[in-house]
């Protein structure tokens, strides 16, 4: 009798666990479906490279599910953005180091041209540009892409994700004061660069 009761309880626990897993999966799927495109656009703006952006978003999704899938649903958005921004920053640092070593090996064979001139023309590679008919939005896209990384992160988290200073600081892994500085500089730079596109 006790054995039957134990078996029944175990089955019930198993069913409940399976239902919970199913619920968690559905909730995570909903959350990620709502954020994946925006995350990709953010990563692509930072890296200016489709494949790198895709890798960063994939990694951020996996990390969220692996480490924070069991957390409250309301915590997912700030956690996801923290992971995403961290991955972008890691990518940026690796690119910088890799370029430094590459330049070191090839320094005699390269000319002394301004490295900034070697940046890909975002207006040429970004398909958004081909679709936009409004100059102002195209110019804004280019201006945001040209912002220094930390300013770009602060601006996009506040403008696109609607985060306040504290939430942005958490996502960027820095102090609120730094966020204010980065955001303020970003807005100032963007306003200055977009003068010609404002009536």
């Amino acid at each position: 009798m006790a054995h039957v009761a134990l078996t029944a309880r175990t089955s019930f626990t198993g069913l409940a666990a399976r239902k919970m897993t199913l619920d968690s999966k559905q909730a995570l799927d909903r959350f990620l479906a709502g954020i994946e495109r925006r995350a990709f656009v953010i990563a692509r703006l930072a890296t200016r490279n489709r494949e790198d952006a895709m890798d960063i978003v994939q990694d951020a999704m996996l990390q969220l599910v692996k480490y924070y899938g069991g957390r409250d649903e309301g915590e997912w958005a700030p956690l996801f953005h923290r992971i995403l921004q961290r991955r972008i920053l890691d990518w940026y640092r690796r690119s910088r180091v890799r370029n430094r070593w590459r330049h070191w090996f090839n320094r005699d064979s390269e000319d002394d041209s301004d490295p900034l001139e070697n940046l890909p023309d975002s207006a040429a590679v970004d398909p958004v540009q081909a679709i936009f008919t409004e100059r102002a939005l195209g110019a804004l896209n280019g201006a945001i892409a040209a912002l220094p990384l930390r300013q770009q992160q602060a601006f996009l988290l506040r403008a696109w994700e609607g985060m306040d200073t504290e939430q942005t600081a958490h996502a960027m892994g820095c102090a609120a004061g730094s966020v204010k500085t980065h955001y303020s500089r970003a807005v100032h730079t963007l306003r200055d660069r977009l003068k010609d596109h404002s009536p």
């Binding site: 494949e51 180091v97 330049h103 090996f105 398909p127 601006f155 696109w160 306003r191």
Partner: protein, 117 residues
Amino acid sequence: MTEPTENKLLDNANRLRQESERALDELTIARLRAARLNAVARVSGRHRWWGLAGGMATASVALAIAGALWLRAPSELPMVSTAEPTVADLDLLATESPEFYRNLEFYRWLASQSDAS
């Protein structure tokens, strides 16, 4: 011409976000969907060995892609520093693919060939 106000800037930024998401091509959308499904499938811990095998397969592909990225033209990367490598770089290099270290001599040789030509 006047500077756009902050509110106008934010309005335009949000329009830009909507348009950017809308303009994504089908392939990108499909890849994002696949990445999401792959991530969500890992919620259940019942297939750990499959997860491990999948992880190893992913790592192999990642190594191959890292090699391809390494050999890609430097102009595709957004940041170029002309400073010499420093000790501070070593912690980042430590996480690089082992291929990088195995091929150091090759890159050195490649650089000397570029110089010679």
